[in-house]
């Protein structure tokens, strides 16, 4: 089984962001970076499939500047076999342009299964995986929280709001991974050493035309500081009054 996983390098979200003077990126000083949450789940799922089969190969692909090599090495350290950097130095926000470049790399790669995260936690476009699948002409099941790959069939559970769907297709196929299937393992020392020797190929990204152009980033208005209105059930009447008269939500 040949599997590809597309991973994106994103900043750690547990911080108070500042906007860079350009207004187009966050101020990266002091930020830590890693692969986007759902991409980590996808890498883990891919590695588990090859481990279970005792065969197969996982290729991780990331589009970005040279710093994505660090993210690719991390994926190699937790069990991916090969990595490809699609080099492009400037940030890109148009998911269609990214999908075009990813599809160009995946096309003809002979992959049985191509995996994406459900969403990149920085852009939150939630579309790159499905766009890429369509450009490749491959069937795709998005936002799945369960996956069975057997006898050339893919059976998945797709999460909806307060509901779910059971969905099937046949290989070769594309899936985008939601939470719930697997959490990424931590790299072992052995894994980190092995990752240094695994192949990492660098190619120029064949980006499509960018037609969804970032104009600016802004911090949303801060929430007013909260207030504690009381303790225990004695505070309930005051809460109900505020919900009615002040917040007008009751």
């Amino acid at each position: 089984m040949k599997i590809a996983v597309c991973i994106k390098r994103v900043p750690d979200m547990d911080v108070r962001f500042k906007i860079a003077p350009s207004g187009l990126t966050v101020d990266e000083s002091g930020l830590k970076f890693d692969m986007s949450d759902f991409d980590g789940y996808a890498v883990e799922v891919a590695v588990q499939i090859t481990e279970k089969l005792g065969a197969g190969e996982v290729t991780v692909i990331s589009l970005g500047a040279d710093n994505v090599q660090e993210t690719l090495r991390k994926a190699l350290s937790i069990g991916a076999h090969k990595a490809v950097q699609l080099k492009h130095d400037a940030p890109v926000s148009d998911g269609y342009a990214i999908a075009t470049a990813l599809a160009a790399e995946l096309q003809g790669g002979g992959y049985d299964l191509v995996m994406f995260g459900r969403m990149a936690v920085d852009t939150q476009n939630r579309s790159t995986g499905v766009l890429t699948a369509e450009l490749l002409g491959m069937p795709v099941i998005s936002a799945i929280s369960k996956l069975d790959v057997e006898n050339g069939m893919v059976k998945a559970r797709r999460e909806l709001e307060g509901a779910f769907e059971l969905v099937e297709t046949s290989l070769p196929a594309v899936v985008t991974i939601d939470e719930g299937i697997a959490r990424p393992r931590y790299p072992s020392l052995k894994g980190i050493m092995a990752a240094k020797k695994k192949p990492l190929e660098v190619k120029p990204a064949q980006l499509g035309e960018q037609r969804y152009v970032l104009e600016k980033l802004e911090l949303p208005a801060e929430r007013a500081a909260g207030r504690i209105i009381g303790e225990g059930k004695d505070a309930v009447p005051e809460l109900v009054r505020l919900l009615k008269e002040e917040a007008k939500v009751l």
Binding site: M13, D14, F17, I19, F38, S93, D94, G95, Y96, A97, A99, V121, Q124, R126, S127, G129, V130, E134, P139, I141, S142, A143, E159, L160, E161, G162, A163, F164, E165, L166, V167, E168, T169, D178, E179, R211, Y212, L214, E215, K216, L217, E218, L219, P220, R223, A224, A225, G226, I228, I229, G230, G232, K233, A235, V236, L239, L243, A247, V249, L250
Partner: protein, 327 residues
């Protein structure tokens, strides 16, 4: 005048609020640019009966794709059919930024070879250009984009546009699928709605969410009861809770769950971890009930009660019932 397209999402034969939001948004743009609103419905036999609701919200024409093949979501047929429709010339197409919408719109955009503005909270049409806002970085940053495309394909975040009645003719037109459903490679074999008939997280104006402070699955009855007292509420949970299996993953709110922004969010026994806040901090009013007065949730809560959920929730439920009865 170019027309405006809206896709009115349904699930198991029921219209979703997000569907009316898309129609309302399309109406707003059409009133500005002078075109007509064409709203599409797809579903099992009988789905066309929902057409008058779309007309009431501003659809000049309702396009109906009806048949057994669409009783469950049929991603490939819908995408092909909508893409064929858009090729006939529209200025914009609105969809819901829902689980179905995210799947459907990306497929449609790729078939149309058009860029796509996802999960939009605000949009401005001015001449040839469309400017949109879309939250990113776990909703911590507002991103503004310019969409350069002949047809602006937009999915709307729940609540970005509220449904407004504005009755139009709503002439019904039955349409044919652009591809034979028998050729679809991706098959949805069943749709399981645990909360059928109830509001879901994407649409409810009120969300009552429970955390590990509830202690066990059975105590979620307290959360359910409060939701029932409101009558317009859905139940959500933290990852601690979904990890324990007390609630399904689809109830999870946060960075790796659903992103919600209801009018009222009541956090019960929730600490307020940064990954949880990522999913709900844009709620209009936040209430927190937690026994630890230092819990970070109180920093974002408009109103906090320091106390035991086992005691406060039943009291609050009774008080809300009384308030609703008196209203």
């Amino acid at each position: 005048m170019a027309n405006i397209f809206a896709f009115a999402e349904t699930r198991l034969g029921e219209l979703r609020r997000a569907g009316l939001e898309a129609v309302t948004a399309a109406r707003r743009v059409a009133d500005q640019t002078g075109g007509q609103v064409h709203a599409m419905l797809a579903g099992g036999p009988g789905i066309g009966a929902l057409a008058p609701k779309l007309a009431a919200h501003g659809a000049d024409v309702v396009l109906v794709l009806e048949g057994d093949a669409y009783a469950n979501y049929n991603p490939e047929v819908l995408a092909a059919t909508v893409a064929a429709r858009l090729a006939s010339g529209y200025r914009a197409a609105f969809f819901a930024a829902s689980a179905q919408g995210h799947d459907q719109v990306a497929r449609t955009a790729a078939k149309c070879k058009l860029p796509y503005a996802s999960d939009v909270t605000e949009f401005v049409f001015a001449g040839d250009s469309v400017t949109v806002k879309h939250p990113g970085y776990t909703n911590k940053i507002v991103q503004t984009f310019v969409l350069k495309a002949p047809v602006a394909i937009i999915s709307l975040r729940a609540g970005a546009v509220l449904p407004v009645e504005n009755a139009k003719a709503g002439t019904v037109e039955t349409i044919a699928p652009a591809i034979d459903p028998a050729t679809a490679r991706v098959k949805v074999t069943s749709t399981e709605a645990g909360n059928r008939g109830k509001l879901d997280l994407g649409e409810a104006p009120v969300i009552i969410a429970g955390g590990r402070g509830l202690k066990e699955a059975a105590n979620f009855a307290l959360v359910e009861n409060l939701a029932a007292a409101f009558g317009n509420a859905a139940v959500g949970a933290t990852r601690a809770v979904t990890d324990e299996g007390w609630r399904p993953h689809s109830d999870q709110i946060g960075q790796t769950g659903r992103l919600v922004s209801p009018d009222l969010y009541v956090a019960c026994g929730i600490s307020g971890a940064i990954q949880h806040l990522a999913g709900m901090r844009t709620s209009k009013c936040i209430v927190a009930i937690n026994k630890d007065k230092e819990a970070p949730i109180f920093k974002v809560a408009d109103y906090g009660i320091v106390g035991d959920v086992m005691e406060v929730l039943p009291a609050l439920t009774e008080a809300v019932k009384a308030a609703k009865a008196g209203a």
